[in-house]
């Protein structure tokens, strides 16, 4: 664990892996909830956790540098299920990358259990990990100027769902009507760091199940 100073009242804690960043994030949230840590923002990312708005960053830095990241506690929450139609315009490209038929993309993706590693890019946009490393895909060479809200997309090791229409360079494999962000709802974000997620196929790519087949395709 490497602790870097950021300005006068923030620290960036760098760890070796995404899994360690998730574990450290969980531990820091636990400490804050227990009143052992005062931080305005605790922002997990790919390999780091940012602590902002600290009262005594120097003391916390030496404390953190001397400690190990405890393993992430087991999650007792149920996974959020996101119904998805695997009908994205980049499905064929992703299938080619994975060297599988298009229908397999849906099956592989829906079989994985995802976790929100971190959020960013837009309110409610989660970077979801869970696909085995052999399914990493590159970003599109030319980003789209407008990716529709609800697009289910892949880039690098991550899956994401666009909360609103925005530019984006991820590979679009499907779409959902799930509402990722609604500021009138509590909580506003469907996904926050640590949330477990499953994608449930609907429509043509759904498994042959008469209960689901009615009226969805």
């Amino acid at each position: 664990m490497r602790v870097l100073s950021v300005g006068d009242d923030a620290l960036l804690v760098e760890v070796a892996s995404g899994a360690q960043a998730e574990a450290l994030h969980a531990e820091l949230l636990r400490r804050r909830a227990a009143g052992l840590l005062s931080a305005r923002e605790i922002v997990p990312a790919a390999r780091t956790v940012l602590l902002d708005g600290l009262t005594d960053p120097a003391r916390l830095a030496s404390e953190l540098a001397a400690s190990d990241v405890p393993p992430a506690p087991p999650r007792e929450q149920a996974a959020v299920e996101i119904p998805v139609r695997y009908d994205g315009p980049d499905l064929a490209e992703v299938a080619a990358h994975w060297d599988v038929p298009q229908e397999e993309v849906a099956r592989i993706h829906a079989a994985a259990e995802f976790r929100v590693a971190f959020c960013g890019f837009a309110p409610g946009f989660g970077y979801l990990t869970g696909l085995p490393a052999r399914y990493d895909v590159p970003r599109r060479a030319a980003p789209r100027t407008a990716v529709p809200a609800g697009s289910v997309a892949l880039a690098g090791p991550y899956t994401g769902v666009y909360p609103r229409t925005s530019p984006g360079g991820w590979q679009l494999i499907g779409s959902t009507e799930a509402v990722l962000w609604d500021h009138a709802r509590v909580p506003a974000a469907l996904l926050s760091p640590g949330t477990l997620v499953r994608f449930v196929p609907i429509g043509e790519m759904a498994p042959a199940d008469p209960a689901r087949a009615t009226g969805t395709s």
Binding site: G7, L12, A46, T48, C119, H183
Partner: protein, 289 residues
């Protein structure tokens, strides 16, 4: 609709509703937002007797024109500009009592960029996550003002302002930003780090509420490859591949993948918000407090 409202006669280039923003939600990808020149916003609120967290208007370069539907107390501050009521000159930096139907004109900034208009009772558009700020990066909060829009006002419970007039400094001819190096200064060559804290840059016209962009020497990286996305703070100086530093202002993204060479002190960001395109900028390295 209640007659406690402002009719927008001329929205100006970019006028937004701002308060102290929505900190505490960065882990969900929600920018902090809030008035870019926070001391100026706090001062105009004091001039009209508002609490410091009341929502005000923030204009950009060319002001705006407003017509209250009831008698109101308001004040204009921040960027220095000509203020008129129904075409007659009125005081800048002082509380003004304006009759229903009169038109307040906030003129083009003479010095500075962003003027602030506080109205007694505050602008009471619907809050989002506890704030009425417009966030231009993620589209939270009310949209920027448009001609003909109507903004609801809170009750004018304070009959007299506690301050008659308040001097506010004009922006200096040169913007000096105190910066602590890191966390990623090791991504740059020693020459680039030296250039960053010794050479002159200029405020670019591409600056906005997300970042103060600069023109000047390109800062060369010491290493290739990409940095994995990491959390970003207010005042972070990010250096994209072209090498020109960008100082993150209130609507900055919560995570980013370009290395941060240093972080500007929060106290210096109000001056950054008032620095017009072309203003010389120097970054001065300071030690951590």
């Amino acid at each position: 609709m209640s007659d406690r409202a402002l009719f927008v006669v001329r929205a100006g280039a970019l006028t937004t509703v701002q308060d102290r923003g929505r900190p505490g939600h960065a882990h969900l990808g929600v920018p902090r937002s809030g008035a870019l020149d926070a001391p100026a916003a706090a001062l105009v609120n004091r001039l009209v007797g508002n609490p410091a967290d009341a929502a005000v208007l923030e204009t950009t370069l060319d002001g705006c024109a407003l017509r209250p539907r009831s008698d109101v107390t308001l004040a204009v501050g921040g960027a220095h500009c000509r203020v008129t009521v129904d075409g007659r000159p009125a005081a800048w930096g002082s509380p003004l009592r304006i009759r229903a139907g009169a038109v307040l004109e906030v003129g083009r900034a003479v010095t500075g960029v962003r003027a602030y208009v506080a109205v007694a009772g505050g602008i009471v558009v619907e809050p989002v996550l506890g704030s009425r700020s417009t966030d231009l990066l993620s589209g939270l909060g009310p949209p920027p003002l448009t001609d003909g829009a109507v903004l609801p006002l809170g009750g004018d419970r304070v009959p007299h302002a506690r301050v008659d007039a308040a001097p506010q400094p004009a922006p200096p001819a040169e913007l000096v930003l105190r910066v602590t190096l890191g966390p990623r200064e090791d991504w740059f060559t020693p020459d680039a780090v030296r250039a960053f804290v010794s050479r002159a840059f200029q405020v670019s016209s591409a600056s906005n509420r997300i970042g103060l962009r600069t023109e000047g020497p390109a800062l060369e990286r010491a290493r290739g490859g990409e940095l994995a996305s990491e959390g970003m703070v207010l005042g972070a100086v990010q250096v994209p591949p072209a090498g020109r530093p960008v100082v993150f202002l209130a609507d900055h993204p919560t995570t980013g993948g370009y290395p941060v060479i240093g972080v500007v002190r929060t106290a210096d960001l109000a001056a950054a918000a008032q620095a017009a395109p072309g203003t010389p900028v120097r970054f001065v390295a300071v030690r951590r407090r």
